[in-house]
Structures are given as structure tokens and as C-alpha cells.
Symmetry: C2
Subunit: 306 residues, 2 copies
């Protein structure tokens, strides 16, 4: 049994008010698989890179016990590259470069050893590739989580709706929920989106936390108030990875486990933004994770006598 | 022992995408005292109105057991009047009219029977009048809560800082916390503001809930996700009233009680926005309030095995 993560494995160059990086390893599948690996030991990646991606760049995955058999290396081609600069408030950014390179004609290969996939995370990617991935698995996973973004709503809405129809959990941010549903109220937006296929919807609100919707139930998770957000890159992917990693660990899909999964995902995301790129989330201890989760408990618990 | 609320008692004319009202009774002290009255029976108002304010307009206070001895009626003058129109997203509004009238030279009178004040809510008003109110109480109340807004930071910052220095709890929204502190991070903003005098700071984030800060402790309260926000007028005042009403009921000032007070204040505020003006919060039952508070419990509770 395994947890498969598909998404980009790429190079990023990031500039924030705190500094800038050279090309560092990034990409949705990178953040998500590292995050998931803190909760579940059998994480497998599907991705594509160019021959500029070296063995030492893959080392971190191996250090975390992540299976990289599904990472195709395209000789003579370059890896996906993104460069961006965050503004002072960290809530907006300019994209300085987007070079699709190997991602332009990415055709995901699912190794035979990945066919034991029980938990599938479709990281942010072209919706058609996400759908192809589902179709290439011989057995439908127990839980499929889809992460996507407004870009695909703009350029590939019908494809995206087809993917959404096939999944169990959709994670998007509040602006995206409004765009996808045409409703301003997040309650109304959630009701519409839950009729598009997914049984669960997570609306990520950044510094305001996240909402989990399922049938007529709602769970509101806080965000950890932070003095500094050093680099927000990958926080959403890290959230999704921690979420599905926790679900794979507990194994049973129900609302209570999902509430906890939202908290564990939020905890990992709160680490992610504390340093550049994957710097923080690749070097955590289980103790640090447990302590951070307890901070979420303290932050939101109260006791009212009935 | 009593809870004294000072603030405006006024007429409002409100327009939202759902409809519009004629002049209805509004004002910070109106919303706050009605809200507080669900938790504490000895609520007393200090305010000023004109002779356009009739006995029937005061009836609602009396129905809720609120002492109106401190409401001055100025013969030959008109009550404060505000007219506003909310935009479609309900997050922004245009002020169509602001007629200060009796508020222009409001000199608060504290009746002798109010000198038993143990809990004092300084509703949104000129900071100088708020300070005067504190000074006219012979004994310093056990708990002073100050509600204010960006307008006073723009036009009377030094006066406001003087008032802030004298109180125990400050309630403002996130934009105001940033303006007052000059810090974007709410954690840094809170640290600065807690050095200005108050021991507790509540940052209201509207549909994103509220944060309570005290020393190095933080509590994050959710907002109830609502399908419709009918009229946001008075929600902040209602929150403040519910908050201090609950504190007066339990009597002991500590962080745990304040966490609950934030939840009770949020619950009352969630009712407030469901109808025009005070329509909803003047007709609640204790059962409805208890049920709403339980919705907050369900919304935010999760159990993680250590």
C-alpha cells in the first residue's frame, strides 16, 4: 500500500523582502512528498525533470524514504523553472520567469510498483495530466486529493471540472472557491462545489486558516499567527502533502480524521514559510512536528460548560 | 455591581443588496447593551439623544432590563444620524450621511447609581469622552474594555493613545491593528499594542474570526461561516457587548474566561448580521444563544491523541 504524489519537481528562484535564492529545488510534488513523509513511510513520486536535475537534487527525497522510480529524466531537456518576487506584504508576488521545459509535454509514467497506490495526491498541474494519472491506476485509490489553482480555471475550466468530478477532496483557496462557484459566500460556494463531485472541500485562507466542508458539516482550522513569513512558496503544496500523509497514516476516511489531517497539514505549512524553499521542512524532527501541532491545539481550544 | 456601556444611541438608515431601512434605532451602545443583556442582568447605558428619540425607542432597552438613567435627552436637538450603503461583497460601504447633532458636544453624565460599575465598555466614540468616562467613575472598574476605530487613529491619535493606556482590553480590527502599530504581522502588531497599556488585545477579522492576545498567549476564535450576511451594521459593537457581558457574568478576569467571552461575543455578532439593525439581537432566546455557541464548539473542535 502506498501514497502516490504527482506534481512538478522543478527549480525555483525566489526573492522575498528577506533575501533571494539561486536556483533551488522546488515544485508541488517536492513540497508535498517531503511533507507527507513525516506521517507515512511509503510515499512515491511521479514527476518529470531534465538532465539538469542531478543525483544530489534527488538525494533529499531518498533521505526521506521517498520512492523516486516515477521521476522521469528527459535527456537533453531542462527542468521546469519558475522565478518570482514577493511584495512586502507577502500576499502578492510577481512571476519573473516561467519556463515549462519538460513539463510542456509531460506524460506521466506510473511504475508497476506504484499500482498499490491507496492514497493519491494530484498536485497542482494541468488537469488533463491529473486525469490521466487517475486512469493509469488499475485500482481506484481509497482517497484522491486534488490540488489546483486559478490559472487552470482561466485556461482549462472544462478539463478541470472533469478532474474535479473524479476526486474525493478538492483543496483551493478562497478566491479560487469564489471563482469556481460564482458565489461570494464561502458556504454557498462550498455547497455548489460539493455538487461537482468531491465529497470534501478544503478552502485554504492563508493567514486566516482553512475551512473543511463535508455534507452539512464545517470545520474551521486556525492558522498559526507568525511574527515573520519568510517565504510563502510551497505552503499550499506542503499543506496538501501533510494532509494526505496523515490520512494515509490513519487509513480510515472520515470527517474526524480529516479535521486532524487539516491541522497536521497546517502545522507543516506553518514550518514551510519560516525559511526559503524546502529548507525548513526537509529538516524537521517528529518532536518538532508534535510540538507544533500542540500549538494549534492551544491556539484554538476552549471549554464551555453546557 | 453593574456593567456600564457608554457609546452612541442613534438613528441609522441602512441600505444593503437585500433592501433598505427607514431610520431605525442603532448606535454602538444600543447594539452592545442589548448583546450584553443576554449574559448579565445589570447593564446600564450612558448616552445622549435628541428630542426626536421617543419613549418607544427606549422601550427595547427596558424590555431587556437595561438601565437608561444615563441617557441624556437634549431638548430642541436631534439625535446622531448615520446613513450608509453596503456594496455587494458587504465588506465595504459608502457613508451617505453623518449628522453628529447631539454627539457634537456630548458631555457624559454618570448617574450616582452607576458608581457601582465593575465592568465598563467604552463603545466607539471620541477618545476624550471615553477618557472622561473613566475619570468620572469614583472607583476604577475591575475590567475596562475599549472599542474604537481607524477614524480616531486618523484624527485624534494622541487622545486615543491616552485612552488606550487606561484600559484592560482593546478591540480593533486587523487593518486598525496594523495602522496603530505600523506592523504588518499581527503578532508583531499585538506585541507593540500590548506595550501601549492594555493587558489583552482582541483583533477582529470579520468573516475570519478573531484573535485574542495576552502576554505570550494567543487564542484564535473562528467565525461562523454564513450563507448570507444580511446587514453587518453593529456586528463589532454586538461582539464587544457579548464579550463584556459574559465577563461580567463569570466575574473573574483570566485568559480562559476571555477565550469563552470571545466565543460568546462572536456568537452574538453572528446573529446580528442575519437581519437589519438590531432586529435579530433584540429577539433572541437563551436557547438560541446556547445552540449557536455549540455551533462554534463543533466548528472548531478536534481531538488529537498525544
Amino acid at each position: 500500500m502506498s501514497l502516490v504524489v504527482i506534481g512538478s519537481v522543478a527549480f525555483d528562484a525566489i526573492e522575498t523582502p528577506f533575501g533571494k535564492t539561486d536556483k533551488i529545488v522546488g515544485g508541488a510534488a517536492t513540497y508535498a512528498s517531503l511533507s507527507a513523509s513525516y506521517f507515512y513511510e511509503n510515499v512515491k513520486i511521479v514527476a518529470v525533470v531534465g538532465d539538469d536535475f542531478h543525483q544530489e537534487d534527488i538525494r533529499e527525497f531518498k533521505n526521506h524514504g521517498i520512492d523516486v522510480e516515477g521521476i522521469q529524466v528527459k535527456e537533453g531537456q531542462k527542468s521546469f523553472f519558475w522565478a518570482g518576487k514577493y511584495h512586502n506584504d507577502m500576499n502578492s508576488r510577481d512571476t519573473l520567469a516561467t519556463e515549462l521545459n519538460v513539463l510542456a509535454d509531460f506524460d506521466p509514467i506510473i511504475p508497476e510498483s506504484y499500482q498499490d497506490c491507496e492514497f493519491l495526491l494530484l498536485g497542482n498541474l494541468t488537469p488533463k495530466i491529473q486525469t490521466t494519472t487517475i486512469n493509469r491506476l488499475k485500482n481506484r485509490p481509497k482517497l484522491i486529493v486534488l490540488d489546483t489553482m486559478n490559472f487552470w480555471m482561466d485556461v482549462a475550466l472544462e478539463d478541470l471540472k472533469e478532474t474535479i468530478r473524479l476526486v474525493d477532496v478538492l483543496t483551493i483557496n478562497d478566491a479560487e472557491a469564489r471563482q469556481l462557484s460564482g458565489e461570494y459566500s464561502l458556504v454557498k460556494a462550498a455547497n455548489k462545489i460539493l455538487q461537482m463531485g468531491p465529497k470534501y472541500l478544503i478552502i485554504k485562507k492563508g493567514e486566516h486558516g482553512a475551512l473543511l466542508f463535508h455534507e452539512d458539516q464545517i470545520f474551521s482550522a486556525p492558522a498559526l499567527p507568525l511574527a515573520e513569513v519568510f517565504d510563502p512558496t510551497g505552503a499550499g503544496d506542503t499543506f496538501a502533502g501533510g494532509f494526505i500523509g496523515y490520512m494515509a497514516k490513519v487509513g480510515t476516511v472520515n470527517f474526524n480524521n480529516m479535521k486532524n489531517a487539516v491541522i497536521f497539514g497546517s502545522a507543516l505549512a506553518s514550518f514551510c514559510v519560516e525559511q526559503f524553499g524546502t529548507e525548513k521542512i526537509k529538516n524537521l524532527t517528529q518532536e518538532e512536528v508534535a510540538e507544533r501541532v500542540q500549538q494549534f491545539v492551544s491556539l484554538s481550544s476552549f471549554v464551555i460548560e453546557k
